[in-house]
Symmetry: C2
Subunit: 236 residues, 2 copies
DNA sequence: CAGTGGTCTAGACCACCGA
DNA sequence: CGGTGGTCTAGACCACTGG
């Protein structure tokens, strides 16, 4: 027994994880039962249970009540594409962030927009369009529609001080979000606003955020392809 | 008290999550101590501990030993952009998947490639290029370099039966990965291979996977922008 | 049916924090 | 110091799975 100072449940986790990562136990193979591990390590069942449960949460193993625990089929590692604030992101890179508000208004929702926001057609909706710059260079064109029920004072916000993402996160803590990322050429207007050629491909992220009962907002983010990329890293 | 049949720890979680999502407790506010919740719900401390611990893992609250539990500052919700197999993905959509191998060879690593794979310049490297089709339509051009140390038999694999992603996951369980997603126009060759116009923007994902000590492979995936998008959804 | 994991209890000792 | 969370035990009952 390696009597290290690690908590017991960590030792059990390390043991199982090691066997899997070294390939001793392949995908689909059975993992020893809790009772077996309990005996092997001389710890209580709660402790073994915690270890294996955490491995299940991490996606390394799959548990089925009454059947047992097996090594997960696909070592599906997942990354975090977080809902981040562009302001923080740019500051983290050590650059300066600027905002240029192009449109800030109340609209009447057409059928499509109403559908997205969970409203009736013709109901008022807040609409903003702004360009975010990094060291003076346009980095992001943000076209956003906001549900007044979720942020009644959206039009009065000073977007020189904060950003829509940050404001909405504070105003209405989000409970759900869905996004889609695609590649597209900018429209003539978008190209002009981002100061790029119409032939320059862009990343377009459309994101819909939900806060409690309300759809909070629907945003379309256009990033110049030559200036921006989504990056991520993840490990076991 | 909703005396539902939910497990006790779920009820505690629901209570705390509700208070946070309704805005009763704002970011930075203290969450009742385990002892307090224990009394309030009349359950053991282990049960309360589990509830709050899981909320911490989910990022809703922050715990500091000796100090207490507070509502997390930024409700940073994260999604899972998983390392998935295109084959499974297409089958899940109920379509048929096909593969067309264009190149399968051994190369000598140039300086840049050697750097990426953690090898010396001039060392042999496996190289494959293939097109994946969905119902006969080209969906993905995959250009991949593989470290022979991680998958010695890569050249002998029958990619009519499996895919590089699946094979490598089985061969060398991955421990780490990093990716970058950008928008770009295809080269003349890429456009030809995907049967698209050169002016059609594409999503380009570059992914580097690590398995234990070795960099397993570096892959460049080109997706036609009009035919593919990354999607995700996540909730509290 | 026996074996598995899911949940729970009523204690316990410890490390840590703030006053 | 008292209060907090981190960990652990030795039991227990249950729901589910498989043969």
């Amino acid at each position: 027994m390696p009597h290290s100072k690690l908590p017991a449940y960590q030792q059990v986790k390390a043991f199982v994880r090691g066997r899997i990562m070294q390939g001793c136990w392949r995908a689909g193979d059975a993992v020893p039962s809790e009772a077996a591990l309990q005996q092997q390590f001389g710890v209580s069942r709660m402790t073994v249970n915690r270890a294996v449960k955490e491995l299940a949460v991490e996606g390394l193993v799959t548990r089925v009540q009454g059947s047992g625990t097996v090594v997960a089929q696909l070592h599906r590692i997942s990354s975090t594409l977080a809902v981040r604030d562009i302001h923080e992101e740019i500051l983290e890179r050590g650059h300066s962030h600027g905002t240029q508000v192009l449109v800030i208004e109340t609209q009447r929702a057409d059928a499509v927009l109403a559908q997205w926001l969970g409203l009736q057609g013709g109901e008022p909706v807040f609409h903003s369009v702004m360009v975010h710059t990094e060291d003076g260079v346009p980095m992001l064109l943000e076209d956003r529609h906001v549900n007044p029920a979720a942020a009644p004072d959206y039009l009065k916000v000073d977007f020189g001080t904060t950003t829509p993402t940050r404001y909405l996160l504070e105003q209405a803590p989000l409970t759900e979000a869905s996004y889609s990322i695609e590649a597209a050429l900018p429209s003539a207007q978008e190209a002009r606003r981002l100061a790029i050629k119409r032939s320059e491909p862009c990343l377009v992220m459309t994101r819909r955020t939900v806060s409690g009962q309300h759809v909070a907002s629907v945003a379309r983010h256009v990033y110049p392809g030559q200036r921006y990329s989504f990056r991520g890293k993840f490990e076991l």
